[in-house]
Symmetry: C2
Subunit: 136 residues, 2 copies
């Protein structure tokens, strides 16, 4: 079974039709050993440099939102003028190099266990994300 049919199946299983746009975006996002961080603009450039059949920016937005919704991507909490996403969907954290404006993964094993002692009535914890800002 080739990657394209794996992506098609994955999309169908999520209730998303496996269009050629979504497949191509899957190839860029998931055909790689390493995970990576990207903005919508980054992704648009990567995708559209790969072939002459362009994918519109609107579709990139739609797809990233859909993939995030389905849990295939995570958005990184960060104060920047654009949103950053992560193909690494495991529980993990980030260094943010403020000067270089660069994100670096901090695996869960790179951070000691995090204990939250405060409880909020009727709410449960959905995620715990640590942002470590770096300076020189």
């Amino acid at each position: 079974m080739n990657l394209v049919s794996i992506y098609a199946k994955k999309l169908r299983n999520s209730g998303l039709r496996p269009t050629k746009q979504r497949i191509k975006i899957c190839e860029v996002l998931f055909d790689t050993e390493k995970t990576f961080h990207f903005s919508i603009n980054d992704l648009s450039k990567i995708v559209n440099n790969k072939s002459s059949q362009k994918i519109s920016l609107a579709t990139i937005y739609n797809t990233v939102h859909a993939f995030k919704e389905k849990g295939y991507l995570k958005q990184i909490p960060l104060n920047a003028n654009q949103a950053y996403f992560d193909t690494n969907i495991s529980d993990h954290h980030h260094f943010y190099d403020v000067k270089e404006k660069k994100l670096i993964d901090l695996d869960n094993s790179d951070v000691g266990p995090i204990n939250i002692y405060k409880k909020i009535n009727g709410k449960k914890i959905k995620s715990v994300e640590v942002l470590v800002k770096l300076e020189d």
Copy 2:
């Protein structure tokens, strides 16, 4: 010594002229027992509901940036369509209630010690911020 002259002194010490706009913004931000979270728009409304002499939005932006620069305010790392700031400048963390879109302080004492084992060459840690997302 009244609050206004305390603010004036604080501003002068930071190299900022104590204008009536900045003093008024200081009063809103710092004349209170409790710290709080706000967006630029929140602050603009609060400030301008207090008196008939309005402060322009540009000045609110300028002042918040200046105060953040000087360390009198912190920006909260969060994925939202506008920036959120905090008058609580102590080291602390946040709950984010995703449904209600509400931030809740998590004091340092509400979170166990956080150990970062990974090192980045030539960089040192500037801050460690935890965002705990809540769901029902």
